[in-house]
Each structure stands twice: as structure tokens, then as C-alpha cells.
């Protein structure tokens, strides 16, 4: 039988606030264990939580960016369960009345644009971290992460394949980075998800039995875990078996998902309203302020780059990958003044090749050794035919190394285009005189060999001859019979 997969995601995003959600402990990543812990986040008796205002601002930004309905009076609730990394014995979350509902995330995957509808976005606190390498069969608990603010984004089951699910996670990362509310760093756990997946015969409307794969913390894992799980469920169903509703973990070393049977027993979180935190009231002015703060999202920016700046899909996609890279590109274009489509494309390509090859992370464009204004100066020299495209790359490399301007480098190293056409003519004639065999080949019809002559002239002039002039001179001279 032919099946289709139905996938929904529960995405956790750590908000990039300085302090935890309910106390003033630092959220800085990488501190020694238990450095950032206080009576509130370690659950000491009598300690009272106070909500971090910035958390609300960030969460509102995400909710509005996704077009959610924001609840004006949302509630905090206690989700009760025991685990050593949860010092209070409950997680403060939101249950019946979450901050935001509805909305969608727009995803572009393999050239196709689709919407992943959202069920809700709510606030909650993160748990601590448990490692299982303690001496003598023990686990070690670090509470630095306990109380770090999270938003949980719950999607509707709108996805049907593993790659699209991974792309949805990439899109969420792009959005939270564009919004400046999280670094979206999966390796550090700032972005992770649980994936619910079930199979149903193609054409059937009712959903099959689902499993939940917990704690996927890389894009690759999201894709691989789902691919494995879909194949596992298909094999089960094809063999006449049934899928058991359960929680599973992905083991990347073996490339399989495994049942977490120990956690299956009695999932009863006994949610109840958090008595220590009154109703979270969102005022109209606050919503308006959050709306005013919304930047352009990556997909909208991409479309604008295509529509207004005439970039190709690929160029635009790459340049909007990180906000800082898109900002860099736009700053170059702005500094170029009224650049035409060709110049804009040249700027885009320069950034994609020369800049990106010199930074590890596209976000580092913000602090690149060659500022956008400086790159624009270089590109203006190319536009004025004072520097060849090829030598522009050489000049850029030198700008990167010694932070001088394009003009200074071109002057100091004699890299300007040869303006003396007599000198170019002489060079062309010298090259032709030195290559009688190639000249004969050209004249017998192998006109492609002109590239050889161009190369020779460029080599002799160290790339400084204006290519157009060289081409034109060569054609003239080769057409004649002298």
C-alpha cells in the first residue's frame, strides 16, 4: 500500500535575553556547571518568580511575525513531572491559555513555497542539563539552563516529508535570527524540536497512530530521524503490524529511533494554574510597539531582492540566509548610488564569492574586515572601467589583509586599467607576431582560439589591459591579413 507521512513539530527556541525568565541569573552559555543558579531557578522553598519583561517582548515579536492571534490575558501553568534536571518538580509553562494561537510559517523548499500552520506559541522555562557520566553509576545535574526562557512553537501536522521538516526548522532559525530574539544555534541547544509523525494510506483523511521523536538538535538529525521513523512505520504497517503510540529517541550513531519505554508510564502532567504568576496581560500599546519593531522576514526580503534588485533565486536565497549578510549587501548597493542591475549582480556575486570565502559564518559579515562602503568604492572602480573585474578580486584580497582602500591599493600596486591604448595595441601586435601558428589556426576557422590571445595579452599586461579593447583589437588584427 502507498502511505503518506503526516508530521508536526514542537519547536523550542531559547530566547536570547540576558537573564532567565523568572530570575536575574545570567543565561550566558558555556559557564562552569551551576554558576548561574539562584533560589528561584533552583526551586528553593519560598522563592518567588518575577517575569522578565524582555521575554514577553521577544515572544510577541515571534507571534506577530507568524501572524498569530495574541491573547491579551494568557496564563502560566505548572506542568508536573519528576526528573532530576527539574528542581521544582514542575515546569512553568502555559497550557490552556497560551500567549498566541494560529498563524503560520512560510517555508520555501525545493523551489516551492508552502505554509506550515501554527497551533500555538507559548512561553515556558527550560530545564537543567543532566549528563550520565558521573562516577559509580550516577548522573550529574547542572542547573545553569534551568529557567532559561523558551518559546514553544507547535505546528499543525502540515508536513509530509523529512526534508521539508528540516527546512521548516531552518526557516524558523532564519526568522528568529532576523527578529533578533535568539541565536537559533542548534549545536548549543538554542533551537531544538520534537517531531510527531504518523502514516496513513494515501487518500485517507483520518490520522494514523503517531510516535513522537524527542529532542532533535540538528537539522540533519531532524531529517534523518524522520526518514528512519517513516520507513520503520511503513515496514511495520506493510508487515501487518501496528504502530504503538510512544516517545522515541534518535540515536545518530546507529541512525535509528529507539523507544523510550521508561518514560511511557503514566504521562499525567496535572497542569494547573501557576499561583505565583498572575495573568499575563498584554496591552494594546505593547502589541503596537512590538508590531512596529518587526523587521522584514527573510522570505520577504528574498522576494524583494528578486523583484526590485533583479537577483536570481539562488543569489537572493544565499544573501538572505543571515540578516547580517543581507544588510551587508544592501549597504554595498546603497553606497554604490544608482547602480543598475548588472552592477547589483556584480555586487551580489562579489559578496557570494569573495566575502563569503573569507568568513566562517555569514553573520560575521557585520564585522567584515572590508566594510560595505569600502567594497562599494572598489566596485565603483570596476563600473568606471578603471579596474578589471579580475583584478578587483586581487585588490579585494589586499583590502582584506591590510584594510587600505581600493584606490590606494590600485595606485600603490599599479593595478589600474591601462588607459594608454597605444600601449595595448603594441602588446596585441607583439603577441600576434609571437604566435604565427595560432594566428594561422584562427584564420582557418578555429576562432575560439581568440581566448588564447586574450590570455597572452592579459598576462603580459598583468591583467591591466581593458578586456573589451583587447578583444576588439584582436578581432580587427586577425581579420586583416597583415
Amino acid at each position: 500500500m502507498s502511505y503518506e507521512a503526516v508530521i508536526g513539530l514542537e519547536i523550542h527556541v531559547q530566547l536570547g535575553t540576558r537573564t532567565k525568565i523568572f530570575c536575574g541569573c545570567s543565561t550566558a552559555f558555556g559557564a562552569p556547571p551551576n554558576e548561574h543558579v539562584c533560589p528561584v531557578c533552583s526551586g528553593q522553598p519560598g522563592a518567588m518568580p518575577v517575569l522578565n519583561a524582555e521575554v514577553v517582548r521577544y515572544a510577541l515579536r515571534m507571534a506577530l511575525a507568524c501572524g498569530c492571534d495574541v491573547r491579551r490575558d494568557s496564563r502560566f501553568a505548572r506542568k508536573n513531572y519528576f526528573y532530576p534536571d527539574l528542581p521544582k518538580g514542575y515546569q512553568v509553562s502555559q497550557h490552556e491559555k497560551p500567549l498566541a494561537e494560529g498563524g503560520a510559517i512560510e517555508v520555501l523548499h525545493e523551489g516551492e513555497r508552502f505554509s506550515v500552520r501554527l497551533n500555538r506559541i507559548h512561553l515556558e522555562e527550560d530545564a537543567g542539563k543532566t549528563t550520565h557520566d558521573g562516577p559509580g553509576h550516577t548522573s550529574l545535574v547542572d542547573l545553569n539552563r534551568a529557567g532559561v526562557p523558551l518559546i514553544e512553537i507547535v505546528t499543525e501536522p502540515d508536513l509530509s516529508d523529512a526534508a521539508a521538516a528540516a527546512e521548516t526548522m531552518r526557516t524558523v532559525r532564519g526568522i528568529v535570527r532576523a527578529l533578533g530574539i535568539s541565536d537559533g544555534n542548534m549545536q548549543e541547544g538554542s533551537l531544538r524540536c520534537d517531531a510527531n509523525v504518523s502514516l496513513r494510506p494515501v487518500g485517507q483523511r483520518t490520522l494514523g497512530t503517531k510516535t513522537e521523536i524527542k529532542n532533535l538538535n540538528s537539522f540533519r538529525f531532524v531529517q534523518r530521524a524522520l526518514e528512519f521513523e517513516i520507513a520503520r512505520q511503513r515496514a511495520l504497517l506493510d508487515g501487518g503490524g501496528q504502530v504503538v503510540q510512544e516517545t522515541r529517541l534518535y540515536d545518530d550513531a546507529r541512525g535509528v529511533t529507539l523507544s523510550m519505554r521508561s518514560k511511557e508510564e503514566a504521562h499525567d502532567y496535572r497542569y494547573f494554574p501557576e499561583p505565583d504568576l498572575p495573568v499575563l496581560v498584554i496591552a494594546e500599546a505593547e502589541l503596537a510597539a512590538a508590531r512596529a519593531e518587526l523587521p522584514e522576514l527573510p522570505l520577504a526580503r528574498r522576494q524583494r531582492f528578486i523583484d526590485v534588485l533583479s537577483l536570481t533565486d539562488d543569489e537572493a536565497s544565499e544573501l538572505v540566509r543571515e540578516r547580517e549578510l543581507g544588510d551587508y549587501f544592501e549597504a554595498v548597493v546603497a553606497a554604490l548610488g544608482d547602480a543598475d542591475a548588472r552592477e547589483i549582480k556584480r555586487a551580489a556575486n562579489f559578496i557570494r564569492t569573495e566575502l563569503l570565502s573569507r568568513i566562517d559564518d555569514a553573520r560575521d559579515a557585520a564585522s567584515a574586515r572590508v566594510a560595505p562602503q569600502r567594497l562599494a568604492e572598489l566596485l565603483a572602480l570596476v563600473r568606471a572601467d578603471r579596474v578589471s573585474s579580475k583584478l578587483a578580486k586581487t585588490i579585494f584580497a589586499k583590502m582584506w589583509d591590510n584594510r587600505r582602500s581600493a584606490e590606494e591599493i590600485a595606485r600603490a600596486e599599479d593595478l589600474f586599467v591601462e588607459q594608454d591604448s597605444a600601449a595595448v595595441v603594441a602588446e596585441v601586435e607583439r603577441v600576434l607576431a609571437a604566435s604565427p601558428e595560432e594566428v594561422a589556426q584562427y584564420r582557418s576557422g578555429k576562432t575560439k582560439i581568440i581566448g588564447y590571445f586574450v590570455g597572452q595579452v592579459m598576462k603580459a599586461t598583468r591583467g591591466k589591459a581593458p578586456p573589451q579593447l583587447v578583444n576588439q583589437l584582436l578581432r580587427e588584427k586577425l581579420a586583416g591579413d597583415d
Binding site: N34, V37, A266, V279
Partner: protein, 97 residues
């Protein structure tokens, strides 16, 4: 087993991660049953159309500025735990393997 009307004492014990002997289950089950019976008096109140009160005082949730305040001295924190190593709380291993 136990004919409690309101409470499955073993389920409650499991959620609380408590192991009860048969005797304890009988004793606590009966006691808890009496507690719940007392509260059952509330069932008589007609609350139709009444919004559940989650907080007695209708105050909006106060918020604080996102400014770092000092955390606890780690030594003090860890010393309060039954078991610790240099920097972490030590607990019985919580996963198999």
C-alpha cells in the same frame, strides 16, 4: 483492590514516585478519600457560567527589567544537596546503560 470512590492511590503514588506497601496504600488511600470527600462539598455549588478563578487578586503579572543579578555562591548551593561533586549535583543514574 481498594474501593475508593475518588482516588486511585497507586496511580497517585506512582506520579509522586513513592513506593507504598499494601498497608500504606490502604491507610493513605482511606485518608485521602476522606480529604476528597470533604472537598466534594464544593460540588454542590452551582458554578455554571462562572469563569474559573486562577488568581484571587486581579493584578497583571508584574515584570522586571532584563538585568543580571548575582546568582548564589555555588558552594552554598551544592552543599545543600545530598550528593555533589566539584561542580554538579550527583543523582542516581536516570537512564539505563
Amino acid at each position: 483492590m481498594h474501593n475508593n470512590k475518588h482516588v486511585d492511590i497507586q496511580a497517585v503514588a506512582q506520579l509522586a514516585q513513592l513506593e507504598l506497601t499494601e498497608q500504606q496504600a490502604r491507610d493513605f488511600g482511606a485518608q485521602l478519600e476522606r480529604v476528597l470527600e470533604a472537598f466534594a462539598a464544593l460540588d454542590a455549588v452551582n458554578v455554571e457560567g462562572v469563569e474559573p478563578t486562577t488568581h484571587p487578586v486581579p493584578l497583571p503579572c508584574p515584570r522586571r527589567a532584563d538585568e543580571v543579578t548575582p546568582s548564589m555562591a555555588r558552594e552554598r548551593l551544592l552543599d545543600a544537596a545530598p550528593a555533589r561533586d566539584e561542580a554538579s549535583f550527583v543523582v542516581p543514574r536516570v537512564i539505563s546503560g
